[in-house]
Amino acid sequence: MLALPKVNYAFLAPELLLIFLALMVLIADLFWWRGRTRVLGWLSVASLIAAGVVALPLVGKTGSTLANALLVDPFAVFFKMVFLASTALIIVVSMDYLARYKLPSSGEYYVLLLFATVGMMFMAASSDLIMIYVGLELTSISSYILAGYHKTDARSNESVLKYFILGLIASGIMLYGFTFIYGFTGQTELGAIANALRGESASLAVIVGVMFAIAGFAFKVASVPFHQWVPDVYEGAPTPITAFLSVAPKAAAFAALARILFLAFPDFAGYWKMIFILLAIASMFIGNLMAIPQKNIKRMLAYSSIAHAGYIMVAFAAANERAIAGLLIYIVAYVLMNIGAFVVVLAVAHQRGGGEELTDFNGLSKRSPFLALSMVVFLVALTGLPPTAGFWGKLWIFLAAVDKGLWWLALIGFLNSVISLYYYVNVIRHMYLFEPDTEEALSTPATFSGVIWITVLATLLIGVYPPILTDVAETVARVFGGLG
């Protein structure tokens, strides 16, 4: 007779509640408010807020449930909050988008986003390879559907097919890596894997397993050389989904990676640090250099997001507590500035019903000073200039790198922000120096302006007084206490 593990439902409450509410949204869409985009949208936002409220009591708690497969610790709670907040922001801007482009079945759209969020929450909280994989797939499958939401658009179809097939291969490779790890250690729980490996010399099978797992995650975070899908999918997906894909699943993948590498393979750090140094350098350079010639702003931001994955991976190359704090700070900063930038893209295209080329930004400062100035803040933050949140994210990660003797990697990182300055400023150039093709003022839906205000103010507030974020991040990073 198999003994079922005892379940601590309080630890699972946010996820369970979110699943329940997501199903309620689905039912509401089916029976009561068919096609009522806004009602369902706000309902979904309310669900996310409710899940966040339920997660509040977990702040500061540490424990595990489901036979150690699910952890509750500051790291998990931190990421859950980040996911809930970013999905909420995405849904707020999606309402006007869906209405504008008359996309069908808005209920499903929201529900998929909510499910993806549940998957990400599991990814950040799991300490079991199977659980992590399930969370990842829940997120990925929702993402595939969402990325292809423009059903009648051939370009979107092509890109989503690419995304789907490559994503499956990546998942397969990752799973294959997991099987090596399981085969060698007989464990799927991360702590148990570390125990089984303690004192063992590095066997090839485990190293291959870890490398395959990293390769799978490298695909999910859009790192070079697993990045080819990124520009196409980012361009073809509905812009709110692009914004979502560029931040939330990436953050979740980084969270899961941190769990796996720091909890299960701390003794193998010498091997995986080297991989991350290579991935980071390749992603930074290729992302930034490829972004320069882009004419489409979504493609440009796609390449820039590859470069940002590179900066973040420097944290894994440094791999100490400060680096994890840097990872957390960078992710929050990145969520704010990237969602903000994409919402500006959304707002610019909104009135005309399209237009995501750089030339569509011509003279934006005249048509909408608010959008233009906000975009400047986001671009400056993405470059990593003070006083913005983006600067502190980079500083923290590079501080950790210098601390670990990787000053040359920090130098490469800093020089890459100089390269990135060039194409970010190019957008500013289009907005401020070029004449608009129409003098007509750009009207922005209130939901867009609201999200832009939130992200701008948060970016600047953290920029001016970073302790509001950095103190939290440093505290959370202590979860991985005892790292080199």
Binding site: L385, P387, L399, D403, W407, L433, D471
Partner: protein, 487 residues
């Protein structure tokens, strides 16, 4: 209360930037007045600070030190000493003058004034921040508004010049940041407080490498040949007011950083390179002067003369003697005012002649007597006519440098002859001769005189009675040099 003056001075412009942002853009007059009032208040406050300065105390005064990011030991640490006050005053003065001088700008006034006032935050903050990260934040804040000022209101090649300026300075500043981080880590103090890092022991090799990183950052800003190539482009393409700020303030950020950080915080890293810096300083003097001589564009001439003059500042700093360092700090002040004025006059001439081609500008003396007079006066001040501000600084630099670098002092002194050469020759070319009848030479208006005359008075006062500033500078530099123990 008085200790909050540096903070008030730095963030007053932020308040007024916000005021400008919320003013509708068609209320042009209100925006101009807001900008003038804001920068005017900063000027008044900086003069109050100058008057409140305690001459007997060579250390930092009016210091505010509160934790900012305790996690990594960054502090909000603002204070002033005898080196920073002259620079704060000149910054406040030039920004205010620039607003008045830009009164007639009618292209995108709101953005223009907003950028000018916003730019002032960083320029002022750099001279008063004593925490490395805070310093870096202020250092970088300047870049964005300056990019806009050049790129939107500049000349025909403004975009190229603006992005070149941005990229050059940004590369410099990331290297500087890396140097800062190196000092931070190897000191083991866990603080970004410059004065505590100055006390800390850092391995000499790290200190040298860290200084080299910082050196590039500072040298691009000064600029020292061969890091200067952005300057002729930026200064020439920038609108008059931005040129004034670039030459008058931004260049001083570099030389100030050499004194404050190089000499005071990482002297162990700077000393091994001190001869190299002196040599580069002399090269800048001669190279800048020779380039200035062959320019046909009046503004480019002034731009190259800046490179030449900043060479004296670098030479004075590198001498590590009291006279040399005093001269350098004084020269930073004088050069700010004088070159600021040169650019302003170039602006006046350009507004009228619609050209800056020296060959096409003739008979300024007949056409616009007062402008011509101001130009002659400023030129004389620039090449160091005794009794004007430019003389004292350069003279002190040469006195201070002679015992240390005899030959180089000789070459630098020869540079003065070159300076006199190209400036006098320019006077001859543009002031004399027959004015072009096609050009409407209106003489200086009351508004233009309202900022030119006070600046001329300042040049005379500092020239005749430099003790006004040296009394303040000397104790600070003396204490600084004693602490670092000379060469």
């Amino acid at each position: 209360m008085i200790k909050w003056l540096p903070t008030i001075i730095t963030f007053l412009p932020l308040l007024f930037t916000l005021f400008i942002i919320v003013t509708p853009k068609d209320k042009i007059k209100a925006i101009r007045i807001l900008a003038a009032v804001g920068t005017g208040l900063v000027l008044v406050a900086s003069i109050v600070m100058y008057l409140a300065f305690d001459y007997s105390n060579p250390g930092f005064q009016m210091s505010v030190q509160v934790p900012w990011i305790p996690m990594i030991g960054a502090e909000y640490y603002m204070a002033v000493d005898g080196i920073s006050i002259p620079l704060v005053v000149v910054t406040a003065l030039l920004t205010f003058v620039c607003i008045i001088a830009s009164w007639k700008i009618d292209k995108r006034v709101k953005e223009y004034m907003g950028m000018m006032v916003f730019c002032e935050i960083g320029m002022l903050g750099v001279f008063m921040a004593l925490d490395f990260l805070l310093f870096y934040v202020f250092w970088e804040i300047v870049l964005i508004p300056m990019y806009f000022l050049i790129a939107i209101w500049g000349g025909p090649r403004r975009e190229y010049a603006a992005i070149k300026f941005f990229l050059f300075t940004f590369i410099g500043s990331v290297l500087m940041l890396l140097g800062i981080l190196a000092v931070y880590f190897y000191s083991g103090e866990g603080t970004f407080n410059m004065m505590r890092l100055a006390e800390a022991t850092v391995p000499p090799l790290v200190l040298k490498l860290a200084f080299l990183g910082m050196f590039v950052g500072f040298a691009v800003k000064v600029p020292i040949v061969p890091f200067h190539t952005w300057l002729p482009d930026a200064h020439v393409e920038a609108p008059t007011a931005a040129s004034v700020l670039l030459a008058g303030v931004l260049l001083k950020m570099g030389t100030y950083a050499f004194v404050r950080i190089g000499l005071q915080v990482v002297p162990g890293g700077m000393k091994p390179f001190i001869t190299m810096i002196a040599v580069l300083g002399v090269i800048s003097i001669i190279y800048g002067a020779l380039c200035a001589m062959v320019q046909t564009d009046l503004k480019k001439l002034v731009a190259y003369s800046s490179i030449s003059h900043m060479g004296y500042v670098m030479l004075g700093i590198a001498s590590l003697t009291p006279a040399g360092l005093n001269g350098a700090v004084l020269q930073m002040f004088s050069h700010g005012v004088i070159t600021g004025m040169l650019f302003l006059v170039v602006g006046l001439v350009y507004e009228r002649a619609k050209t800056r081609d020296i060959a096409k500008i003739n008979g300024l003396f007949v056409g616009a007597t007062m402008i011509s007079g101001i130009w002659v006066f400023t030129s004389l001040a620039s090449f160091g006519l005794p009794s004007l501000a430019g003389f004292v600084g350069e003279f002190l630099v040469l006195i201070g440098t002679f015992p240390v670098y005899g030959v180089m002092t000789g070459i630098a002194a020869a540079g003065i002859i070159l300076t006199a050469g190209y400036l006098v020759w320019t006077i001859q070319r543009i002031c004399f001769g027959k004015p072009d009848p096609e050009i409407d030479w209106r003489d200086a208006t009351a508004r233009e005189l309202s900022y030119m005359v006070p600046m001329m008075i300042i040049i005379v006062i500092v020239g005749v009675y430099p003790a006004l500033l040296t009394n303040m500078i000397t104790p600070t530099t003396a204490a600084l040099l004693t602490k670092m123990g000379g060469l």
